[in-house]
């Protein structure tokens, strides 16, 4: 790695120049190649316009949660405590894997027993690339968006896909 300041030939991967101590880490940082990549690297999660979260308490019954998901046309609900802090997420997948066929009376079950606890989340100023990485790596369809530690929205895999394809069409 040739130091851009003094021209010293450093070992590949050096963090600073062995001659002038110039920081070399920016040399390895990826550069955006096109508009989509630039948006992924620079735009924050809030650019997707996350929908306001639909929240429920942990003692809500599963039957109520199902009705809420249906009425609001969504696939995941955020479960919050009395101060609004995020406890978990309750999604269609939880219903499929933990409820359907295993329990009869949905009105007698509480969401707290079936939700996915402490879900992965993103901050509203994280980049879209970061959110894409989390969704793809974890296999999530929904990610809670936090601002100052409180849930402020939810982004879905479809929001990301729509954003990327819209950039492609422009």
């Amino acid at each position: 790695m040739i130091c851009p300041t003094c021209g010293w030939d450093n070992l590949p991967g050096s963090e600073e120049c062995g001659h002038c101590q110039q920081d070399l880490t920016p040399l390895d940082r990826p550069l955006p190649q096109d508009r989509v990549e630039r948006s992924l690297m620079e735009d924050p999660v809030s650019a997707l316009g996350p929908k306001p979260p639909v929240t429920i308490a942990a003692d809500t019954t599963v039957a109520e949660a199902v009705q809420t998901m249906l009425a609001r046309h969504i696939g995941a609900l955020l479960v919050v405590d009395s101060c609004g802090g995020l406890l978990g997420i309750f999604s269609e997948r939880d219903l499929l894997t933990k409820v359907a066929g295993l329990h009869e009376d949905l009105a007698g079950l509480t969401v707290g027993d079936f939700m996915t606890r402490a879900p992965d989340s993103v901050a509203d100023d994280d980049t879209l690339a970061f959110a894409l990485h989390k969704m793809d790596g974890g296999g999530y369809r929904h990610l809670p968006v936090l601002s100052n530690g409180q849930p402020s929205g939810v982004i879905s895999v479809r929001d990301l896909l729509q954003h990327i394809t819209r950039l492609c069409q422009e």
Binding site: T97, G101, F130, L161, T165
Partner: protein, 154 residues
């Protein structure tokens, strides 16, 4: 090659859609649920005499069974989504994305000559996009709070 062009010229088969999971129209919803749970998938295709007559997804489970309090012993043919929108393996990725967005679908059956050859999910497409930007998506900044609290081997 830039992404807009890739979405136009690359075909759905390039994404290697997952092999379809199928149930017969006469089977009960419970069988489909058990299959989905065991195979960790979000949808199954419903067949009758070797043709696909419908699709059954998590959303159908929520909407047509759990919300109405119906039993899982019902035949699946009464609670599936009939005649699902499908794509051909040679269709472009872009056209599949457009169908998903227009219809709000998360899964599209991939059909070749009337036979189901796979299921294309929105997650698979997002995975493909993530792979397309490896340096951007997979090279994330280091986490300064990740500290090893004990010495290795100690």
């Amino acid at each position: 090659m830039d992404l807009a062009r890739i979405l136009k010229v690359e075909s759905v088969s390039r994404l290697q859609p997952t092999p379809p999971r199928m149930v017969q129209a006469s089977q009960a919803v419970g069988d489909a649920v058990a299959l989905m749970r065991q195979q960790e998938v979000g949808c199954v295709l419903v067949c009758q005499e070797n043709t696909v007559v419908g699709i059954f997804t998590e959303r159908d489970l929520l909407r047509r069974i759990l919300a109405l309090g119906k039993p899982l012993t019902l035949p699946i043919v009464h609670c599936m989504t009939p005649r699902p929108v499908a794509v051909h393996p040679k269709d472009s990725i872009g056209s599949a994305v457009r169908l998903m967005e227009e219809g709000g679908y998360r899964h599209l059956p991939v059909m070749d000559g009337g036979k189901p050859v796979g299921i294309l999910s929105v997650k698979r497409i997002v995975h493909y996009l993530a792979e397309h930007f490896p340096s951007t998506v997979y090279n994330l900044p280091p986490d300064p709070s990740a500290v090893q609290h004990e010495r290795e081997g100690a």
